[in-house]
Symmetry: C2
Subunit: 321 residues, 2 copies
């Protein structure tokens, strides 16, 4: 009973922040993202009657209690679906720098969902696989379909999953991930989501999300960069406004973050197809048209505080390997 | 040798932040503002051979060394212009709450410039008076002309002053000043201006200011609220981006500030003529069309953290009383 799978992280154009049900990870709003080719998690899973407990290694390092508990809880869900009581061995690797502030939980749980379900002999539809991945990490459900995916918030466990909006080759976009020095360890997403409801702006953000989702989907399908840029930046700003006004407040931006954001705005004003979005950390995802990549990347590398710039095009979904 | 004058504070639609020459208060960029009717400083000045030193009372309270030194230095400039060596007595009152975070230095030095120059028998043009007021506090030069004023940065002391862009009755705008709880004493403007150059965004802000100034002036003259709203908010955001990325960083916004800003954005999206701008403190100046005032003011009073909402229409400049 063995299987191996790969999956990619994704960058949300319309963000996921806050849950209606934090145990099931049913989100307050829908969200929309692009898988990131080039950045990859590869995961191998064995279920075996000889194992006396679950175990989990990441990048060759055996993981301690906290990480293991999250993986085990996820495996329990997969075992429940398969009616199987065997312990598992999970080995996982990321090809992108850990600790650089690039969230890996999306690719991790998308790859694990596929590898574990395949090893258990489950034959899940893409939607069922996406819903399963969601139980490990909300945004993981968006790493299951190929290319650009929209997470339909749904009403319950079974209908809260992501579907493809467009395949990877639909639009030649590039995500230039600007890795910045982080002054402090960011509050983890799971912990952060729980604070969304404490912000006086949360209701307003949630109320506006459906309109932004439609706008983003239409801009994407029309390959209209200017329209995409406006809604992607507005949605990122809304999420950070909620974060900053929650109790306790979450400040993910650093001076380096703002320096990148405002330069991007200036470049777009001068006619460049470029916009920016920020997740729960200081790094900036600079989205640009493929034709602009070289120019934008060179400018980004000149900005103060920039440690490295990673480049990702629209990527595939979770795959067996 | 006595005179009395009144002047009003002003709210900048295009901001002043940073000096080319901090002693002369020659700014890095031009700026544009509206005088605030209803909020007023009244100042009386006597020069008398019987005085043995300058003295200064504010709201009936004799002011200590620091305040007095700033007033004395300003009076020295006026005495220099008049060739007069007499000491002065200055008595000043604001009709708006001090310590509520409404900057009073603009109205204070505009009123003092007029009262002192009149008491000294100087007959200054409006431009000369504006340049004199600038020496006390940069933004005071904009409180000298009636209504809406633009500070032309100029090249030296004599040609750095404000001129009228439109009279007070040109456009029925209202500034709803949302007074919020402040968690900390704000860094004073004089000190803050000196930090502008430490921000990696300062050059970009300065480079974009002339275009924003033209846009703001044209929007004002065309009475085009949507156009005014965009440039007023963009310019305020640029200033705060510079502040937050300076060394040390200056964070003037609080959660209350953001709550107001994002609601204003939402109201405008729903068709209301409303926008917002923030100076060097947490309070939000919500600019709205006169016809919207009642609706907007009622909504503002419902938001969390709002202590009071003051209302000001376009006001006159400095006047002898």
């Amino acid at each position: 009973m063995f299987a191996a799978a790969s999956a990619h992280p994704n960058i949300a154009f319309i963000k996921y922040w806050g849950n209606r049900d934090s145990l099931l990870r049913l989100p307050l709003t829908g969200s929309l993202s692009m898988n990131l080719d080039g950045l990859e998690t590869r995961t191998r899973v064995w279920f075996d009657a000889d194992f006396s407990a679950d175990s989990f290694s990441l990048g060759g390092v055996e993981q301690g209690e906290e990480s293991l508990a999250r993986v085990s809880a996820f495996l329990d869900r997969a075992r429940e679906l398969a009616g199987c009581g065997l312990w598992a061995r999970v080995e996982s690797e990321n090809n992108f720098p850990t600790g650089a502030g690039i969230a890996s939980s999306a690719s991790a749980f998308a790859a694990l969902a596929l590898a574990a379900s395949a090893a258990l002999g489950l034959s899940l539809s893409e939607q069922q696989l996406s819903a399963l991945a969601r139980r490990g990490s909300g945004s993981a459900c968006r790493s299951v379909p190929d290319g650009f995916a929209e997470w339909l918030p749904g009403s319950a466990d079974a209908d809260s999953y992501a579907v493809q909006v467009a395949p990877p080759d639909y639009w030649d976009l590039v995500d230039l991930i600007v890795v910045l020095r982080s002054e402090h360890k960011a509050v983890g997403s799971t912990e952060g989501h729980a604070l969304a409801g404490t912000s006086p702006l949360n209701g307003l953000r949630v109320a506006g999300a459906p309109e932004r989702l439609i706008e983003c989907r239409q801009a994407l399908l029309a390959r209209d960069f200017a329209r995409l840029a406006r809604v992607v930046e507005a949605d990122s700003h809304w999420m950070h406004a909620v974060m900053r006004t929650s109790t306790p407040p979450l400040f993910y931006w650093t001076a380096g973050t703002e320096t990148v954001l405002w330069h991007v705005l200036d470049w777009r004003k001068r006619g460049r197809a470029v916009c920016a979005t920020v997740d729960a950390g200081p790094n900036v995802h600079v989205i640009t048209a493929g034709a602009e990549k070289t120019w934008v990347e060179a400018r980004l590398r000149e900005l103060p505080g920039v440690q490295q710039v990673l480049c990702a095009r629209p990527g595939p979904g979770a795959r067996l390997i």
